[in-house]
C-alpha cells in the first residue's frame, strides 16, 4: 500500500503540494489527473525518494520513504518500476542494455537469465527482437514501450507511470493502455498513473483522484468521477476551459508550470 500523508512541497516560493493525501490500495490502479504543473509528477517522485517532502510523508508498505537509509531506499526502489514521460532511456546503450540495467544490480542473476528476462519483457510490450537497436532508432511510442519493459523487467510490486501516453497518437496511446492493463494482469502490480488523457484514465483506472491546488480535489471510482458534480472535476474531465478560469485558486500558469517541472525534474 502507498500512502501520501499530508504532503507539502515547494520549489522556492512556488507551493506545489499543499496537504496532498491519498491512499493507494494493494492491487489497484490509481489514476491521478489534474492540470499541467499542479504537482502530479512531483507527488509520485516522492514515492521513490527522488524528492524529499517539506512536510508530511509518503509511506510504502509501512516504511516512511524520506526516513529510509540509503541501502533501505535502494531496496525499496528495487520493488518499484517507474515509467517516465519521455521514456528516459539511456541513449548510449542498446535496448538490451537498457532493459537489463536494473537486473544487473542483482547478484543472483547470471547473464543467461538476464538475457531471458529482457527477451520476455520485450515480448510483453510487443517489441521482440529489438535488443540490439539503439533508442535513437525507435519511434516515440516504441521508446515508451521499452521504458515500460525496463520497468517491468525487475518484476516490481508497484508501477508508477508518469504521463505514459502524452504526445502519442490515439492508436499508440491505446496500445500503451492495453500494455498497462496486461502488465497489471501478468504481474499483479499496484499502479499509480499520472495522465491528462481521460479516455486512458477510464480504461485503466480502478479509482481516479484529481489533484488541484496542491491537494486532492476528489477521489472516486471511474463512475463516481464520470458523474462528479464538482464543477472543477467536471470541467477537467469534459475539457471545459471555463472551469479552470472559474476556480477558487488558479493553478500555475504555463510559465510557472514549466518552472515547477524543471525543478522537479
Amino acid at each position: 500500500m502507498i500512502e501520501f500523508q499530508d504532503l507539502h512541497k515547494a520549489f522556492g516560493p512556488k507551493k506545489v503540494l499543499q496537504g496532498f493525501s491519498l491512499t493507494v490500495n494493494d492491487g489497484e490502479t490509481m489514476v491521478i489527473i489534474g492540470y499541467s504543473g499542479t504537482g502530479k509528477s512531483v507527488a509520485i517522485k516522492h514515492v521513490v525518494g527522488l524528492l524529499d517532502p517539506d512536510a508530511g510523508q509518503v509511506v510504502v508498505d509501512g516504511e516512511v520513504v524520506s526516513a529510509l537509509t540509503h541501502d533501505a531506499l535502494m531496496t525499496l526502489r528495487s520493488r518499484i518500476g517507474f515509467v517516465f514521460q519521455f521514456a528516459a532511456l539511456f541513449d548510449s546503450m542498446t535496448i538490451h542494455d537498457n532493459v537489463a540495467f536494473g537486473l544487473r544490480r542483482r547478484r543472483d542473476l547470471g547473464e543467461g537469465e538476464i538475457r531471458d528476462r529482457v527477451a520476455h519483457a520485450l515480448e510483453l510490450v510487443d517489441l521482440p527482437g529489438t535488443e540490439e537497436r539503439m533508442p535513437g532508432e525507435l519511434s516515440g511510442g516504441m521508446r515508451k514501450r521499452v521504458g515500460l519493459a525496463r520497468a517491468i523487467a525487475i518484476q516490481p510490486k508497484y508501477m508508477l507511470y508518469d504521463e505514459p501516453t502524452t504526445g502519442l497518437d490515439p492508436v499508440t496511446s491505446a496500445v500503451i493502455d492495453r500494455l498497462m492493463v496486461r502488465t497489471r494482469e501478468a504481474l499483479g502490480v499496484t499502479s499509480i498513473v499520472i495522465t491528462h488523457d481521460m479516455r486512458s484514465a477510464y480504461t485503466i483506472g480502478d479509482r481516479i483522484a484529481m489533484l488541484y491546488d496542491g491537494r486532492v480535489r476528489q477521489v472516486g471510482t471511474v463512475d463516481e468521477i464520470r458523474r462528479s458534480t464538482d464543477p472543477m472535476v467536471r470541467g477537467f474531465v469534459e475539457g471545459d476551459p471555463s472551469a479552470k478560469e472559474s476556480g477558487d485558486t488558479a493553478p500555475l500558469s504555463a510559465a510557472e508550470a514549466l518552472e515547477v517541472e524543471g525543478a522537479a525534474g
Binding site: L50, L89, F90
Partner: protein, 256 residues
C-alpha cells in the same frame, strides 16, 4: 550595494555547500566497486586513449617552440647546451602538465558536463536512481578515478613527445648537436622533475572531472542549462588548473 554583496555571498556559500554535498555523496559511493568497476575501463579509454592525439599534437609543437625560444634568448650570453635544460625542465614541470590539462578541460571536462547534463535534463539520471543505482557510483566515481589515473599517463606521453620534438628542433634547426642537447637535459635533471609534473597532472585530472561531473549533475532547464554547464566547466576547470599550478609550486618548490 550591500544587499547585492550579501546576495552574491549567499549564492556562493550555497554553491560551496552543494559542492560539499556532492563530494560527500561521491566519497560514499567509492566502496560500491561492483557498480563503478564495470565502467571504469571504458572511462579510462575515453579519457586516456581518446585524448592522446590532441595532447601529443600540442606537446609536439610546444617542444619545437621551446627549443627555438630558448636559443633566441640565450644567444651570445648563455651556453647553447642549456637549451636542453630549459626544454626538459619546462616541459616536465610546467608546460607539459598545464597545456595538457588546459587542452583536456574541453576534451574531458566539457564533455562530461554536457553528457551528464543531458542525462539530467532528459531524466536519465532519475531513471538510474529509480533502478536502484547511485548516479555517483555509476557516473561520477569511474570518471573521477579515470581522470585522476589517466591524466598523468597522457601527460607523461606529452612530456616525452615535447622532449623528442625539442631535441629534433635543436639538432635540425639550431646549431646544436645531439650530445650538447642531452648534456643540457641531464645537467640539472632530477627525478623529482617528472614526479612533480605527474603529481600536478593527477590533481588536474581529479578536479577537472569533479567539476565536469558536478556541473553536469546540477544542470537544470534543458538545452540552455546544458550549454551553461558546459561553458562553466571549461571556465572553472581552467581557473582551477592555474590555482592548483600555483598551489603545487608554493608547496613543493618553495626553498626550505
Amino acid at each position: 550595494m550591500l544587499s547585492f554583496i550579501g546576495r552574491r555571498s549567499n549564492l556562493a556559500l550555497a554553491g560551496i555547500g552543494r559542492f560539499g554535498l556532492f563530494l560527500s555523496d561521491t566519497a560514499r559511493a567509492v566502496p560500491d566497486a561492483r557498480t563503478w568497476g564495470r565502467v571504469l575501463a571504458v572511462q579510462m579509454r575515453r579519457i586516456g586513449v581518446d585524448s592522446l592525439p590532441i595532447s601529443l599534437f600540442i606537446a609536439a609543437f610546444t617542444g619545437i617552440v621551446l627549443a627555438l625560444l630558448a636559443t633566441y634568448t640565450f644567444t651570445g650570453a648563455v651556453p647553447l647546451y642549456l637549451v636542453g635544460t630549459l626544454v626538459g625542465k619546462t616541459l616536465m614541470m610546467e608546460l607539459g602538465p598545464v597545456l595538457t590539462a588546459l587542452a583536456l578541460t574541453g576534451r574531458v571536462g566539457a564533455t562530461m558536463a554536457a553528457e551528464l547534463g543531458t542525462m539530467r535534463v532528459t531524466e536519465q539520471v532519475d531513471a538510474m536512481e529509480t533502478l536502484a543505482y547511485s548516479p555517483h557510483a555509476y557516473l561520477v566515481v569511474p570518471r573521477v578515478l579515470a581522470g585522476t589515473l589517466m591524466f598523468p599517463v597522457i601527460g607523461g606521453f606529452a612530456m616525452a613527445m615535447g622532449l623528442l620534438t625539442g631535441w629534433l628542433a635543436a639538432v635540425t634547426l639550431l646549431p646544436l648537436s645531439s650530445a650538447e642537447f642531452l648534456r643540457g637535459l641531464r645537467m640539472f635533471y632530477q627525478p623529482f622533475d617528472w614526479q612533480y609534473g605527474l603529481i600536478k597532472l593527477s590533481s588536474f585530472g581529479l578536479f577537472i572531472t569533479l567539476i565536469g561531473c558536478y556541473l553536469g549533475l546540477a544542470t537544470r532547464g534543458g538545452a540552455e542549462g546544458v550549454g551553461i554547464a558546459t561553458t562553466r566547466s571549461v571556465v572553472y576547470s581552467a581557473a582551477m588548473i592555474l590555482v592548483l599550478d600555483a598551489y603545487w609550486a608554493i608547496v613543493l618548490l618553495r626553498p626550505a
